[in-house]
Amino acid sequence: MATRERTRKARSREQRHDYLLSEAQLEEMYYYMLLARRLSERMLILNRQGRAPFVIAGAGQEAAQVGAAMALERGTDYLAPYYRDLAMNLVFGMTAREAMLNVLGKRDDPNSYGRQMPAHWSSPARRIVTQSSVVATQLVHAVGIALGARLRGEQLVVMACCGEGATSRGDFHEALNFAAIHRLPVIFFVENNGYAISERTEKEMPVPHVADRARAYDMHAAIVDGMDCVAVYQTVKPAVDQARRGGGPWLIEAKCYRLWAHSSEDDDTRYRPRKELEEWAKKDPITVFRERVLADGIFPREDLEEIEAHVEEEVRDAVEWALAQPDPAPEDALTHVYKEY
């Protein structure tokens, strides 16, 4: 893959910044953020064309997602994502083509083979844990995975993600309580985008920060600017390392913003001032990242443009390819209610 080549090239250049990341990693960051965004844009178009009944996306949250996912060890660590986490899944190895199969509900979508709504991720081989639409339930599953690994003696970290709205649910409390009692290696990664559909955080919680909720469990907590991919990585990485060494769970809150409506079904003009949106749009994590690495002289502009061209091509290919893939047959609905043995 072209990215891999660029990665090698980047690695050969001398480090001349304080990002605590190799240039290869920085390229990866840009690549994944951009890929997620471009995929999401195309998904929305497919939705408007009547080809994808439903789209829910993470625009505005890519920096948080990519920064956090890159702090994990792929192949070893588990990811229990939530519906907005396309970018995380890409980092964990999901391909653009697979993402497109997913949004189209295609027969071969590895996430759910057309059985779940789009953006309900799953890939056991990549250690991406299947999740439902019911928010916060996955937090408890993540704790169970960590407990299982502890019992078996495998050293790994589980990252469980959700929005800030989900933290009001009972399952959030029960998950954090258990993880903290047993000091399990779970990173609860909360993408606080300011809204749960139409509800602002003031209606969801009595504290200014989701991270404050960690205090009930004497749990490590951190707040990070979720619009800054590098900062997210720099915050999450040490937490992951510490958890891996047995230091107990973390609650990490990434402050970000939902740049789009809740989903393709939502009309956010009903509840969200345009002015606020415009302010946040200026902080778009992808453009901010681009400008910053250019200003800091990390890459020549051509390198970024190369990535951009590559992403365009990858997305184009994915859409075209996925549209041509078979739909599930009606009676496919009947299989795998139980695991055969």
Binding site: E199, P330, A333
Partner: protein, 325 residues
């Protein structure tokens, strides 16, 4: 008066209930902005302080409504999708259902839980489900599942006035699909009453929600072929109008029970069991159920969703077979 959709009928009833009785208030997720289906649109502005956005936490939405109802208010809780009510299963079944019973009537709960249910909207596994069988099994709860706008309006008002916990099921596929001129439309105002929507001597179809409309469409088609159906709109699943159920079965001798929910242990089983016990002598054919297949409902892709959902075509086919028995 123009035709009114199911959604408009619900909104009208909410508005009327709030205007009528100061104790009525609404709580739920996103209800201030009107709710994801816009059932509460305009009400927060019209009734300041009486439409309350809650955190995303269904157990507490129901539990808080229980407390408020006990205190003497008349809460209407909205669960955004019926699929998400299960976190409140404990509050509904362990608490609300038996508040009156366990105090022998010293305390009671004038409580309504509204929630959109049902498939046909490409909602996949968790925005499509039928939940009625779980809750209709619980003595002490009432479960209402209308089909026509006029009934939505009148039965929602009745639910608000009922001193017992009522789960009010709104079929989301019908929200905009089904319209009715309210003036002169038959409207059932009593919880616990079914209605014979169509009369025919060959067989009886039982249904509620979207499926009632599919049954009516099938009955129309069948009539053209000379097969005359009685169609019973159950309206309330608990307490069930067993007399109406049995009467129709006795009159036609053949019955077809239709629901979207999965077959095994679905609410149709109860209808079948009732008939098999109390209308046995009148039966001319096996009791047939046409329901969703026994898979975790409902697959997302339209092809599989269509395969899952009963519809007029499948109903007509089953009815034809039954009529020929």
């Amino acid at each position: 008066m123009a035709e009114v959709s199911v959604l408009e009928a619900v909104r009208m009833a909410l508005d009327e209930a709030m205007a009528r009785d100061e104790r009525v208030f609404i709580l739920g997720e996103d209800v201030e902005a009107g709710g994801v289906f816009r059932a509460t649109e305009g009400l927060a502005a019209k009734y300041p302080g009486r439409v309350i956005d809650t955190p995303l936490a269904e157990s507490s939405i129901v539990g808080i409504a229980i407390g408020a109802a006990h205190y003497g208010m008349r809460p209407i809780a909205e669960i955004q999708f019926a699929d998400f009510i299960h976190a409140a299963f404990d509050q509904l079944c362990s608490e609300a259902s038996r508040w009156c019973y366990r105090t022998k009537g010293d305390a009671w709960l004038p409580l309504v839980v509204r929630t959109p249910w049902g498939g046909g909207v490409h909602g996949g596994q968790h925005h499509s489900q039928s939940i009625e069988a779980f809750y209709a099994h619980m003595p002490g709860l009432k479960v209402v599942a209308p089909s026509f706008p006029a009934d939505y309006r009148s039965l929602l008002l009745a639910a608000v006035e009922d001193p017992n916990p009522v789960i009010f099921l709104e079929h989301k596929r019908t929200y905009r699909l089904i319209r009715q001129e309210l003036n002169g439309a038959p409207a059932e105002t009593r919880i616990g009453k079914a209605r014979v929507t169509r009369r025919g001597g060959d067989l009886t179809l039982y249904a509620y929600g979207l499926m009632l409309h599919e049954c009516l469409a099938a009955a129309e088609e069948l009539a053209a072929e000379g097969i005359e159906c009685t169609v019973v709109d159950l309206l309330t699943l608990r307490p069930l109008d067993t007399e109406a159920v049995l009467e129709a079965a006795r009159a036609t001798g053949k019955v077809l029970i239709v629901h979207e929910d999965t077959l095994t242990g679905g609410f149709g089983a109860e209808i079948a069991a009732l008939i098999a016990e109390h209308a046995f002598e009148y039966l001319d054919a096996p009791i047939r159920r046409l329901c969703g297949p026994d898979i975790p409902p409902i697959p997302y892709h339209p092809a599989m969703e269509g395969f899952y959902m009963p519809d007029r075509r499948k109903i007509a086919a089953a009815a034809r077979e039954l009529a020929a028995y």
